[in-house]
């Protein structure tokens, strides 16, 4: 099938549920391709466009639901500019930012902790201490 390569490639970049292939069938045994008139393509596709728009809108909404927040990423980039981070530290910082956001702690407060600490280790420790009080499930 002509869609399989598209599907296999697209699935490497996002979750499978967000990869959809819409096929427009131009011919079948009753209407062979030899009798197909290219000029009818637009008139076949145009009526389907409103439906496709609905599909696209819904898929965009679903994609937003699982996309990382832009604000969290901005905070992370700011901290990454202040400290050089290993892979593990990146994970730790991202976790702290996410949890701070979850517990309604201002992003500026987290950035301030990382900018005022002498090193990353003490910044992580301090941030965790701040978050500790809020960890109890409501």
């Amino acid at each position: 099938m002509e869609g399989s390569a598209f599907f296999a490639t697209a699935s490497r970049f996002c979750t499978r549920e967000l990869v959809q292939s819409v096929k427009i069938i131009s011919d079948n045994p009753q209407s062979p391709v030899s009798g197909f008139d290219k000029s009818t393509v637009s008139s076949l596709i145009t009526p389907a466009i409103p439906l496709l728009r609905i599909l696209i809108t819904e898929m965009e909404e679903i994609a937003r639901e699982i996309s990382p927040s832009f604000e969290l990423d901005t905070t992370f980039q700011e901290i990454a500019r202040l400290h050089s981070l290993s892979q593990t530290q990146e994970y730790q910082v991202q976790k702290i930012i996410r949890q701070a956001d979850l517990f309604a702690l201002a992003h500026s407060e987290i950035i301030s902790i990382f900018s005022h600490s002498t090193n990353l280790k003490s910044a992580l420790k301090h941030a965790n201490q701040v978050l500790e009080e809020k960890r109890l499930f409501p």
């Binding site: 979750t15 990382p68 409501p138």
Partner: protein, 336 residues
Amino acid sequence: MIDTIYIEESIFGHPRTKEILLRFPKATPISCSNYKEIFNPSGQNFRLQKKKPSLILAEKTGHLALPIPETYGIGGKRNFYFSHMLNCLYDCRYCFLQGMYPSAHYVLFVNYENFLSDIEAKTMEDTTQPTWFFSGYDCDSLVLDGISQFVKSFLPFFKTNNNAHLELRTKSVNIKPLLENEPLENVVTAFSFTPEEISSQLEHGVPSVSSRIQAMKKLTDRGWQVGLRIDPLIDCEDFSTRYQNLFQDIFSQIPREKIHSVSLGTFRMPTTFFKKMEKLHPQEKLFSGRLENRSGTVAYRQEIERERKETCLQLLQQHIPAQKIFNCEISSSSNT
């Protein structure tokens, strides 16, 4: 409810497949050679699939009844679990299924006759003591009974094999299939609970605590035995008060002699499952709790775990003898 049904080619002609397909005349049937083609591929998103799961009808092969983790029993020495279904209608944030399975589609293994043969064989291995079979590890035993007809299909075996004991584990109030039968001494319907304040935040789609207690009451009024599964225990605000109220609500309505067993287990999860769940629901406060990683398992810090469990034990013992209370240790990972 179900728009798409995948069917393994080998069970197209199975009577249960035909029955189920008749129940969903509008669903699109799609054939496959093995359910794993649909269920197992990587890159699926459990959270998105949960919005509209498909049904997969398949045949279970290999070992059908498997030993349970050693610390999971409720008094018996020979314990097995079996899964006629994978996944659940409910969407509990703490559920290990979302960390274990790549897909949220429901898989229903229609070859009940093979499950029953294996259950019979396991029972006959030792007739000197009861053999327990737990049915709600990888699914809820009752919630999709309207589709699976599980109770109707399995109860007759347990009616004639007193040495085989069955636990149906559920959060459902779908007890009709049980009420249609006379109570069996060797069948326990075990209801899982967290306090309402927690349930409303974490157990999406699950009936309220009070309606589950009512379902338990109806069963016990008719002579059925029930179990309580306080698992997972969730470390939370007002912990003692919330759990005290929960136990008070339950034990004030359910006669204690009809309560077969109570099991207790704190929230625990294999680290790999936990990481996946955290990624699926980054906005979930449960995953940012007072947790730690202990040799491949994420659990509450030991002192918190010990204190919370002890509190619950003391609260429970105000209502029920200690011999009926069973502790689910950290080495395991199942919670309904």
